[in-house]
Structure formats: structure tokens, C-alpha cells
């Protein structure tokens, strides 16, 4: 089992019960990264992040350094942190917020300095009542300590950071919908182009949007240098990453592992991670990167946890959410539940997504409930094809955002991998598994 000795970068403090307090933070190197950053020029800080090859941890995996370099120069620019975390089976960002809120604040300040933005916002999912309290508390402490606000640590650099609660809408995790929501509107994604946030973002001004985990890596990168980060992992996938492991494993949880050097099998079976499948059953299938990702079967367990490795195999690491389904799982039900989620959360702007998700959900529900028809499988694939023509990977997009093209992923995977199971449901009106 490859459990590498890579350092813990974002979870280093989590062994301490008081990891969220300023005292613990300061006694374990807290705000040293910020002090160091302030002693460098903004360009030097950005260069370290670029050298680290830090890929965004929110889902799309875009290099943070490159995104930063695209920020259009303007008198007023914004930094917005994406803490909406609602991709099903993803549960890592709120741990970072609850258990090490100062690390997140420090990361935000480093980014704000490197980007020389005028103001920063941290958008947290509204349901994170506890996280909102912890982060607000941490920010209050950081202000008192002099790390936020005016003339930080006497450097002459000033920045205000605002914690902003969402109110329950998955789509607000999509960065342009998030900006709409932050402007006090419904979370309707904007069309790109022209609304790439780096060009036209919050209040029409250039804006960088980065994920909570992406930000939380910055203090370490500044302290140890981009090269040290890039020495971990392999190729484009550098450093460590948090993986949220759920489903039929003995030890579900969030684990920080070195990228590429670790495989899905390591994560599922290593005693320090998943510890194997419950009841020592076989893996039937697993979702490798959140429910927007196509599924993998046992044959893909040995793939390395790397962005390109998983991408080339026809899926994505996405939000780092891995859900294991064992032999007792009804795949019709799994696909139906995921589709129901999309049908509920579609914002309704685009017809293929709005209408298609509802259709697909109803057809899957009737198959699951024993009322399936023979033509239903073709109907499912045809409707999916209307949302994302060709059903290829990465998917074609006919809609404003990629929620729509994510809908077919699980349906297509389930039918591809478990057609016989669907046929038994349809012909015999019962589930051959459960």
C-alpha cells in the first residue's frame, strides 16, 4: 500500500482539539506565511504559487497561478472564496473552516496581497452554521491581532474580509452563480464568455474565485516555497489533496494524501484510510470525484489519484469525493437518486437541463419502482444525449453552466456498466440485488 510520508499540508493541526484557536495557530507557525509574504513583493508571492502548480481544489482543477495571472488590472478587484461545498459526498472544505479557520484566513490574506485586491469575501454554504460561527470568531481574533484590516502587521497593506452566508442552493457553488448570489440575487449562472470572473466578476469588476482548500494550501506554499510543493505528487498534480471517502468502506472520512503516488485502491483499502469494504464485500463501482463524474468499476481501482490520470481514463477527480458502492447496491436506485438531486438543483435557465433532468428522474423512478418499459433505456440515453450531445468525456455543453452536462454522467455509467440489472428491473419488476 502506498501511504507516502508526504507532510500534512492542510491538516497539520487537526490532531489538536483546539486547532481552531488563535493560540494554537500561533504556536504552530500560524501567520508566519503571511508575514513572509508581506516581506516579498506581490509578484514574488504569485510566482511561488505558480511554481507550486497548485491546481484548484474546487472541481475544475484549473491552476491557481494561471488564474491569478489572468486577473484584469483595474482599480477595484475582488477575491472571492468558494466555500459552498454542496457537491454530494464532498465533505472536506467545512472541516478546514471548522477545524482550522485561521489557516483559511491566512491563505485568503496571502492571496489578497499577491493579487492586490481591494476586498475579499468568503462565501460559505448557508447550512454551515457551525463553520460560520467558527470563521466569524477567527476573523474577529485576526482583526484584533492585526492580521486583517488596515496596515496589516505594519506593512501598509490593508484589506477587509467579509464572511458571507449562502442560503441553500447547490448551483451557488458554480462561480458565476456564486457571484450573483453574493450580489443579493438568485443564483443564476452567467454565460462565459463574456462573464469570466477574472474579466467581469463581482459588481462587474475583475474577480478571482478560488476554493477553500486551494486557499488553505497557500500558507505552506509561501513558507516552504513553490518548489517544495511541486516536489510532491507528479506531473501537473502536485502536492497533497483532501479526499472525502464515503459509502461502503469501513472507515469513511476525509484523508489528506499525496497526489498521484496514491491510488484509489490505496485510499479504499489501506488501514489508515478506508480500511477496506464493509463486510469485506467486493467493490461494485465507485464515484471518483463527486456525482457529476462518470463512475468507475473495480478495474480502475489501481488508477493513481492524479488529475490527468483520472481524466484520461474517462472521468475526473472533481471535488475529491469518492463514494464506494459494494455488491449489495442497487445501481438503478443509485442513478435515480443522483439524478433526482440534479432535477431539484437545476436553476431552470436552460431547457435541456431543466426539462431533461425532470424527465430522466421520472423514467429512472418508474424503473426503480417496477413500472419500467422496454424502451426506457433508449429513452434515457436519448434524453441524456439531448443534454450533452455524443455523451462523450469531457462532455459537450449545450447549456449556460456545466451542471446540465453533468446529469448524464451517472445515468450513462450505470446503463453502460449494469445494463442487465436495469433489464431485470424492467422485465421482472424487481431488483436482482437488494
Amino acid at each position: 500500500m502506498a501511504v507516502t510520508d508526504a507532510p500534512r499540508i492542510v491538516t497539520a493541526r487537526m490532531g489538536f482539539k483546539d486547532s481552531h484557536t488563535l493560540d494554537r495557530f500561533l504556536s504552530t507557525g500560524g501567520y508566519d506565511g503571511l508575514r513572509k509574504a508581506l516581506s516579498m513583493t506581490p509578484e514574488e508571492v504569485a510566482a511561488q504559487v505558480d511554481a507550486a502548480s497548485l491546481l484548484g481544489r474546487g472541481g475544475a482543477g484549473f491552476p491557481a497561478g494561471r488564474k491569478w495571472s489572468m486577473l484584469r488590472k483595474d482599480p477595484v478587484t475582488y477575491l472571492v472564496v468558494n466555500g459552498d461545498e454542496s457537491e454530494p459526498a464532498t465533505f472536506k472544505d467545512h472541516l478546514l473552516v471548522e477545524r482550522d479557520p485561521h489557516q483559511l484566513v491566512e491563505g485568503v490574506l496571502i492571496a489578497a496581497y499577491a493579487l492586490q485586491v481591494t476586498q475579499a469575501f468568503i462565501y460559505l454554504r448557508g447550512e454551515f452554521a457551525f463553520g460560520l460561527e467558527r470563521l466569524t470568531q477567527a476573523l474577529n481574533e485576526a482583526y484584533d491581532y492585526g492580521a486583517v484590516g488596515q496596515d496589516i502587521f505594519g506593512s501598509g497593506f490593508s484589506i477587509d474580509v467579509v464572511v458571507h452566508p449562502g442560503a441553500g442552493a447547490y448551483i451557488c457553488g458554480e462561480e458565476t452563480a456564486l457571484l450573483e448570489s453574493l450580489e443579493g440575487k438568485r443564483g443564476f449562472p452567467r454565460i462565459k464568455p463574456p462573464f469570466f470572473p477574472a474579466a467581469i466578476g463581482l459588481y462587474g469588476q475583475p474577480t478571482v474565485v478560488n476554493n477553500v482548500e486551494t486557499m488553505s494550501n497557500l500558507p505552506w506554499i509561501v513558507l516552504h516555497g513553490g518548489a517544495a510543493f511541486a516536489a510532491l505528487g507528479e506531473g501537473r498534480s502536485t502536492g497533497t489533496r483532501l479526499f472525502a471517502l464515503s459509502g461502503h468502506v469501513k472507515r469513511p472520512g476525509t484523508y489528506e494524501v499525496e497526489m498521484v503516488k496514491t491510488t484509489f485502491r490505496d485510499l479504499v483499502y489501506a488501514p489508515v484510510y478506508g480500511g477496506g469494504v464493509r463486510g469485506d464485500r467486493e467493490v461494485k463501482a465507485f464515484v471518483p470525484g463527486g456525482v457529476s463524474a462518470p463512475w468507475f468499476g473495480p478495474g480502475q481501482l489501481d488508477l493513481p489519484l492524479g488529475q490527468d490520470e483520472v481524466g484520461n481514463a474517462g472521468s475526473m477527480l472533481g471535488s475529491g469525493a469518492i463514494t464506494v458502492m459494494d455488491a449489495s447496491t442497487c445501481m438503478v436506485r443509485a442513478a435515480w437518486r443522483i439524478t433526482k438531486f440534479f432535477a431539484r438543483e437545476s436553476c431552470g435557465q436552460c431547457t435541456p437541463c431543466r426539462e431533461g433532468s425532470g424527465w430522466l428522474e421520472r423514467v429512472l423512478r418508474r424503473i426503480e419502482h417496477g413500472g419500467g418499459r422496454e424502451e426506457d433505456l433508449e429513452l434515457l440515453l436519448d434524453a441524456s444525449d439531448n443534454i450533452s450531445p455524443g455523451l462523450q468525456w469531457p462532455p459537450q455543453q449545450t447549456t449556460i453552466c456545466v451542471l446540465g452536462p453533468s446529469i448524464p454522467s451517472s445515468i450513462h455509467s450505470a446503463i453502460d456498466m449494469f445494463r442487465d440489472e436495469f433489464l431485470v428491473h424492467i422485465k421482472e419488476g424487481r431488483c436482482p440485488v437488494a
Binding site: 482599480p75 457551525f130 443579493g184 443564483g187 443509485a334
Partner: protein
């Protein structure tokens, strides 16, 4: 007579002052109104509209987009049971069915005594403890049927009221102090922003004129974005 209490209005004004544009405070203000009333009363929406400078219809139109903002009364305890994929694999459907039978309401319903609202929730981001349950958005762990029964007993008897405030109270920690960057500095930035916007509008117009007939860009994609 104002419907929102003076202390709530004071906090609302503070929140508005944190943002470059008042409307940005809309969701935080809706949460505040729910802290006072448990849900978003029409009178509250009127006052929020005035505080952020939009119409009450705009407030309602925005609020109804969001699951956490309720324009109908909600029970004192909003019990949310996640039935999404990880919790489904952990027995969420059985737990929800039990909760429905025990409370005598379907998911989405409120008990006649106004004590409980039951919710069939999407992923609550605590998927290693399944089936995941929250009460008024506080995690209470992954619960067995027996544990859920005990929890409902406790809530009904008021035994959990310290850790779980009535529905609507989201954040009990208050940001200490208002805007930290001097208003004068922000005002200068606002002016610069307006100027930049005007510049851009002019530039766009010029470009449009210059490029009339040129091919449009391809459908942009950030790659494959998800949570």
C-alpha cells in the same frame, strides 16, 4: 412601527455597511429576519427591501430561490435528513420513512403543534456519518432509528435547547465592529470603479464598431467544473 426589532435593525445596518453594494446584504438580512420570526414574514421582507433599496417583490423573488429562506412558517425544529448518495447507501430512506411515521407528516410537512418540520435534504456535507441528520442546521451525527427517536424526545422536552437554538438563528457570533476600511478610502475606490466601468463601456463600444462582423468566440468552458 417597525416589524423588525431595533436590535435586529441595528445589526442589519451594520451588515449592509460591510458591502460595496447594499443589495449584497440581502441574504444575510433574510437570515436575520428568520432569527427574529423563525421564517420570512411579508412585513420583514418589506423592511429588508427598504434597507437594501429594492422592492419587496425582488426580496421575495430572490428568497424563494433559496431552500433555507422560508416564506411560510417553519417548525421550531427543522429536522433535515439527507437522502443523497452516501446517506442512501447508509440507510437514509428507512430513517426518513420512520421519521415520517413517527411525526405523522410527510417530508416537507410541519407537525400541527408547530414543533417539527421534517425535510428530505440534499447532501449536508457530513457524508462519513450516515444517514446524516441536522436540526436547525446543526449536525447531530449519523443516526440510527433509535437514536433519532431519542433525539426527537430530547428536542420535544427542550433538553437540547442550549446547543440548538430555535429555527432561524444561524450565526450566534457577531462580527465585532463594522466596516474596518475607512469610508473615505472606499468612496475613492467606488469612484474609481465607476470610472473604470465607464471606460470599459466606451472601449466595448469602440471595439464593437471596429469588429462588426468578426467571428464570435467559442462556447467557453472552464473545463469540467463541479463542487
Amino acid at each position: 412601527m417597525s416589524h423588525l426589532r431595533p436590535d435586529i435593525v441595528e445589526r442589519a445596518r451594520e451588515l449592509v455597511s460591510l458591502y460595496p453594494e447594499p443589495r449584497s446584504a440581502l441574504i444575510p438580512l433574510c437570515h436575520l429576519a428568520q432569527e427574529q420570526d423563525g421564517w420570512l414574514r411579508p412585513e420583514a421582507m418589506e423592511e429588508i427591501a427598504a434597507l437594501v433599496g429594492i422592492t419587496a417583490a425582488e426580496v421575495r423573488g430572490t428568497a424563494t430561490f433559496y431552500d433555507m429562506l422560508h416564506t411560510e412558517p417553519v417548525g421550531t425544529y427543522l429536522v433535515s435528513i439527507c437522502t443523497n448518495i452516501a446517506c442512501l447507501l447508509g440507510g437514509a430512506e428507512e430513517l426518513l420513512a420512520h421519521a415520517e411515521a413517527r411525526l405523522g407528516v410527510h417530508a416537507g410537512g410541519t407537525t400541527p403543534d408547530g414543533r417539527f418540520t421534517l425535510e428530505d435534504a440534499e447532501c449536508l456535507a457530513d457524508c462519513d456519518r450516515t444517514p446524516c441528520v441536522t436540526v436547525n442546521h446543526r449536525y447531530v451525527g449519523g443516526l440510527s432509528i433509535e437514536e433519532l427517536d431519542a433525539l426527537l424526545d430530547d428536542l420535544a422536552a427542550g433538553r437540547r435547547s442550549d446547543e440548538i437554538p430555535p429555527h432561524g438563528t444561524l450565526v450566534r457570533v457577531r462580527r465585532n465592529g463594522g466596516l474596518r476600511v475607512p469610508l473615505a478610502q472606499l468612496a475613492a475606490e467606488r469612484a474609481a470603479m465607476a470610472e473604470a466601468q465607464a471606460d470599459r463601456a466606451r472601449a466595448a463600444k469602440d471595439e464593437e464598431a471596429a469588429q462588426a462582423g468578426a467571428a464570435g468566440g467559442s462556447q467557453g468552458s472552464e473545463g469540467r467544473g463541479t463542487a
